[in-house]
Amino acid sequence: MEAVYHYDGSFEGFLCCIFDIYQYKEIPAAIECGGEKAFTLFASRTVETDRSHSARVLRKVSACAPGAGKLLWHGFLTCLPEKELHLYYFVAKLLRDGPAFLQDRSDKTLYPVVRAVQHLHGEVHLLKGFVRFSELGGVLGGEIEPKNRVLPLLKSHFCARYQNERFFLYDRTHKEALFYAGGHAVIQPLEHFQMAPPDEAEARYRILWKRFYDTIAIKERYNPRCRMTNMPKRYWNTMTEFQDEDYFKPQTHPEDAAIPAAPAARFVPGTRQEPGPSAPGSDP
């Protein structure tokens, strides 16, 4: 019997879908989250997220092959269309045939997943460089528009880089933000966010950077195509060097210069709870 599975959008929730599919010995027609449940001819199942179930699935997958649990988690962070089904097929094959096919990247089930994960890792790598922070009221803040859910994978990099800072990074695409203060990091949903305009000092560094960027290019080597290949245009939107004039003007009335208070106020150093997917292997 085929059924459509609905879950809460979390990694644990997705693992629970796999748990239930095995439990009911069903074939999933689709695995979905959020939004209205569309009318289908298939049976519809709403999966409750049960951490003991998700932990069992993850343990089982991780026991099949080193790296399989991580691949599953990273696969879940990608923007692969119908990623849940692809990942389910991956798990089903792993449990049925054993891990040998993991050696062969061209395998029909594995290939779409590793391709998507490679795209995710590529985006993470680029963003480690392309993220731009502004300092406002002693807090560093930045925004990105990634295709994949990169924040969980950017977390350790930026926390190490800015160990003694307070910072946040807002993901406009997935409407969530990474907050870091006092040695603790959380990723939380955040529906709206608007960056405050710069103060004098911040505007000055933006201008200095823009000038450096414009000056370092050698005009005899002008090659916009090469720049575009290395740094696709979709990243430019959140990068200092490509903003228009207003971005470089300081806020003239200090009393208006509200700090990007929304996120800054959310800093709750000391509370260490993480709603995002936990790292595989670190079973709760």
Partner: protein, 423 residues
């Protein structure tokens, strides 16, 4: 002069240096310090300038005042250019502020020779010490060792920087004599040797004492200017090979000469920088470092320059057709690496995948093989790619067409595309 103007002058004066990577250094985060360099082994590009080059470090000169008169250089004494100098405080503040905003991975500090090599190096040390000690900066620093500076000062510099470099610039001693009369092969190679020995010694000490200070842990690099002198590709590549073999350099950078000055001994000002040639040298350099090629396999006295039409690996393959086709189900790693279109990653994937079962040509693209190039040179289970027919002539045309969209000088390339094959 305000910081913005200084930054403009001292960036423009530094931009011709090709090296801008943060690779090869691991600095794990330290308590109370700012930054780390533990990201990807390939380094981290923070932007790309409009010439397509990666921007990783705040690359500036401490000053563009110079007592030397290297003919090819915008900063030479006899050039009528506006001069500026950062104070160590100014530069440290810029570095930290850029680093915190994630504009850069660190600082690349070079300088004109101000008063003397020792005076210049002391100023550089002062700046780096300020960054490392007062600001507790734990990011990447690449510093230029000035030829002629005393060994004690270079030693200090090396304990503050992740990477040191001494630029050779001109690939032959004759070139140096004519165009950089204040420098000599000796004054360049002496600090290189010192850096190499000190770096090795420091790594040995680290094995014994975990907290021994680290001397230029990311090693050293250099830069060669291509096209300012008459040196051939063969000469340049053999020089690089020697530097990798004998000085354990991490990287040699190649910089197409851009005529910035009118001088009887240099190419005229309207000569275009030889970007394609530079590109071929980088490709060949890659073959030396990761593919097990030797310079003598790629070029020789009778073919001293690279074919502009195809990349060095294809060029080698065309001259060694008896080596092909390579059977990918049985060939060893070294043989796989010789196939045009197969790289280090795809060769490893082939080795891994063929353990699961025999491979067919239609799987190879998914393993990362560039079939447009590779198809002519391999078989899978004894068979070539389906429907592939070619003659030596169409083979060459196919290879040229496969690379064309990737070349830095598409216009230039069109001219030579239909040259007779004997070129």
């Amino acid at each position: 002069m305000d910081t913005l103007e200084k930054l403009t002058i001292l960036t423009a004066a530094a931009k011709y240096d090709a090296a801008c990577t943060s690779s090869g250094a691991k600095r794990s985060p330290k308590k109370g310090a700012i930054g780390s360099t533990s990201s990807a082994p390939a380094g981290c590009c923070h932007s790309f300038s409009s010439d397509g080059r990666c921007v990783t470090l705040l690359k500036v000169l401490l000053t563009n005042r110079c007592i030397y008169d290297c003919k090819y250089c915008v900063n030479r004494r006899s050039n009528d250019a506006k001069r500026a100098a950062f104070t160590p405080e100014e530069l440290a503040d810029l570095t930290i502020s850029f680093y915190r905003r994630n504009y850069v991975e660190g600082l690349f500090l070079s300088s004109g020779v101000f008063r003397s090599p020792d005076d210049t190096t002391e100023l550089m040390i002062k700046t780096l010490a300020l960054l490392r000690e007062r600001y507790r900066f734990n990011g990447y620093i690449h510093a230029k060792a000035i030829p002629g500076a005393s060994p004690e000062l270079i030693e200090r510099l090396g304990f503050l920087a992740d990477r040191l470099s001494v630029n050779i610039e001109l690939p032959s001693e004759a070139g140096l004599k004519r165009l950089a009369p204040d420098k000599s092969k000796h004054s360049i190679l002496t600090p290189m040797r010192q850096i190499q020995c000190r770096n090795r010694q420091s790594r040995e000490e680290l094995v014994k004492y975990r907290h021994a200070p680290r001397f230029a842990p990311a090693g050293q690099s250099t830069q060669l200017i291509v096209g300012a002198t008459a040196d051939t590709d063969f000469h340049i590549l053999r020089l690089s090979q020697g530097l990798y073999d004998r000085y354990q350099l991490k990287r040699v950078f190649y910089s197409a000469y851009i005529p910035v000055v009118e001088h009887a001994l240099l190419p005229a000002k309207d000569v275009k920088p030889p970007l394609l040639r530079e590109h071929r040298l980088y490709q060949a350099d890659w073959l030396l470092r990761f593919y097990g090629f030797r310079a003598e396999e790629l070029l020789d006295e009778s073919h001293p320059d690279f074919d502009t039409r195809v990349d060095p690996k294809c060029s080698w393959a065309l001259a060694h057709l008896d080596f092909f086709p390579v059977e990918i189900n049985t060939a060893d790693y070294e043989a796989l690496l010789r196939i045009p279109g197969v790289g280090v990653t795809s060769a490893k994937r082939i080795l891994s995948a063929r353990r699961v079962g025999p491979l067919h040509t239609n799987q190879l693209q998914k393993l990362g093989v560039v079939m447009k190039r590779a198809q002519y040179f391999l078989t899978a289970s004894g068979r070539m790619a389906d429907g592939l027919h070619f003659t030596p002539d169409s083979l060459l045309r196919g290879l040229i067409a496969a690379e064309k969209p990737l070349l830095p000088e598409p216009d230039f390339e069109q001219l030579s595309l239909f040259d007779p094959v004997t070129a």
